[in-house]
Symmetry: C2
Subunit: 408 residues, 2 copies
């Protein structure tokens, strides 16, 4: 129940970063469920986190440690099988203890460790099980550990997600590699979207924060399956500095442009991978809105369509239901929307215009356009020059089954 | 697939209003699909209509005629089987023509007729079929026609909805009777929520508008199954004046208070009836939010819960999934929300507090609380004195089936 090709591509090592994936038996015996990432001294880290007021203990602590160290983080500690969410004060103490244990074992301050947890909620984190595997993890750190880590961070994912690319700028080669798990808003029981992206470029902290904030905005914040935002979502960007460039501080430089583009490209690829592996997904749908007055109103229309259960069930049925699309556009809250200017396209087929079915449209065209696994719904608002796209899936029987039966 | 008792109660006649329900064969031969309501001369009418920018032709025309006549409406003409939506300019001409035909036959101006249509979209309205039955309809008008009309306005509803009550005020007896169809936002293909409420009180038009606006706000605008707003939603309130009181103009009078309460009560009953008959519904759920700073933030939390597919699939599974409830509250956008103050109750069982499962809570309590068809989810925000409730249903396999297969 995942859309399209899913083989993990080659993930290039990022000089200055090593990974280990080990088995602590947190939920299932034998499952490799703890991932440790080691950042070279001098690396910089920035991150974006869930905006949910009920955020999990590790999210609170990661935010705090990032601030306390000004991004000079040395270890990222991730466990699956337990989200340490909905765990109150004990959850905070447990997350803190995990950071202390890894910090002590590795000889770095507790603040230099960021914790990440994903899995079932409301259960106490089994700290002792995690403690027991930290020596092994530290002994097995390996720059080639990305693929194992991509699998190690999975929960209900059906396949690992990763993307990697290299670019050349002003006489140097750089790499950006990222992995992600979950499908953020679409996973049951608040299990988590986690993303880890790293580059060997040297980047000043504020610039790094700007790059990951914008890249997340254009990728992870533009996917939705059901509109539910997790309590544990987190995405970090690491700059190890091993490439040897002087730290990037100029946002008008060629390196900034090249790096921002590469990070965005990796994030978009990972985000789309999350949607393709969405619960019960049988379609991968791009909702592209053009001709808006500004980006926000394009996003308002795109998300109203992407969240509409009536649109999503029609997608599941491969039904070119232009009426449901018009209805969703009409309730997106745009001021002074002239419905007579709006055009609706399925792939390249104009299906609706002037508030009704397009004169040129035939049901056969619509049925053909809805058949593929990958569909583009394009809305032309014809009232400005702004555009935005979001990615989503359909609503299927399997979505209901997975979410209704998750705890049984 | 409807929740609870569904027998239509006794619907009291409203002096000054007569109804006829006849068969025009618009979609199915023999189906009684045209309802005509005749208002006595001197009656006043007010209404609320969909906010969807893609509103159907009859909605546009009803709004216009209400304004042109200052509410001095004489006929309400409703057809099912065809929504006259997504029909462009021809749709406007067809709706106009229906009003002309009924106006001519009844001897009133075209503006004194309000048109309402519900059913499939994108198909031209069969005006000739409607024209053919208007003489019969006018001949069969009957003050006791409410129950037949409640069935006549149905589309995919599984049962008619109506409610009626009498009250006494300052020496006079009054009646309020209402019928409704569809389930507004939850019906497929933009089919429609329609509501018709009438009283024999005499009420000035602006006061009448205020009463129906507020009553709709507290009833039809507080139900949701899937968040999709129809293009045809309309609800009208008629005051025939047959009770003989001097026209109500004082909003601080006892009659205003009594009438507003009666209309609200009828609207809430009808609105809940729509939810109970929602597509695939197996639960009737009240989401009550207390302790908010203002009504709006209570509504924000209540609707975030009511729209959450993860909450709704958990309801379908009778799963007391407090984590999904906390996650929904947390993403409702409340400023400075102190999650440690929030309490979550299923019926009378405290299931979560201080950001985690309540110490007193047992899974057995939760399972027992989720078992009934009717459930109250109560959220205590503990930051103010405002409250609000919305009503919704679960998401079931049948919801997907109905909406995925509707056009096949």
């Amino acid at each position: 129940m995942a859309v399209g090709e899913g083989a993990l591509p080659e993930l290039y090592p990022v000089p200055g970063l090593r990974l280990a994936t080990v088995s602590a038996g947190i939920k299932k015996p034998g499952r490799r469920d703890v991932v440790v990432m080691e950042l070279a001294a001098g690396a910089t880290c920035a991150g974006v986190f869930t905006r949910n007021a009920f955020c999990a203990a590790p999210v609170t602590l990661s935010r705090r440690h990032l601030a306390q160290t000004s991004g000079a983080v040395r270890y990222l500690l991730t466990n699956t099988g337990n989200a340490n969410a909905g765990t109150g004060e004990r959850g905070m103490a447990d997350a803190q203890r995990c950071c202390e244990l890894l910090g002590d074992a590795a000889g770095v301050p507790v603040e230099a460790v960021l914790p990440f947890s994903t899995g079932v909620i409301g259960e106490p984190l089994p700290v002792a099980k995690i403690e027991a595997v930290l020596p092994t993890a530290l002994a097995e750190l390996d720059a080639d550990g990305w693929a194992a880590a991509a699998s190690g961070i999975m929960t209900t994912d059906t396949r690992p997600k990763g993307h990697s690319l290299r670019f050349h700028c002003e006489g140097r080669d750089y790499v950006v590699t990222g992995i992600a798990k979950g499908a953020g808003m679409i996973r049951p029981n608040m299990a988590t979207m986690l993303g880890y992206i790293a580059t060997d470029a040297a980047v000043e902290r504020e610039v790094l924060q700007g790059i990951i904030s914008r890249a997340a905005e254009l990728s992870f914040n533009r996917i939705t399956v059901d509109g539910d935002t997790s309590t544990n979502d987190a995405c970090v960007l690491v700059a190890t500095g091993a490439a040897g460039n002087s730290p990037l501080s100029d946002t008008s430089s060629p390196l900034f442009a090249a790096l921002a583009e590469a990070v965005e490209s990796v994030c978009v690829n990972l985000a789309q991978g999350l949607v393709r592996d969405g619960e019960g997904a049988s379609k991968f749908v791009t909702v592209q809105v053009d001709g808006g007055r500004d980006e926000q109103e394009c996003l308002d229309v795109a998300f109203t369509i992407a969240h509409s259960p009536l649109v999503k069930t029609a997608l599941f049925a491969s039904d070119p239901n232009w009426g449901r699309l018009l209805a969703a556009i009409g309730r997106a809250g745009l001021e002074d929307l002239d419905v007579n200017l709006v055009g609706v396209y399925l792939n390249d087929v104009l299906i609706a215009e002037r508030g009704c079915r397009a004169a040129s449209y035939t049901e056969e065209q619509g049925v053909a356009a809805m058949k593929p696994e990958e569909i583009v719904i394009r809305i032309e608002l014809a009232r400005g020059a702004a555009s935005a796209s979001v990615w989503t899936t359909d609503f299927s029987y399997d979505y209901v089954r997975i979410n209704a039966e998750y705890r049984s």
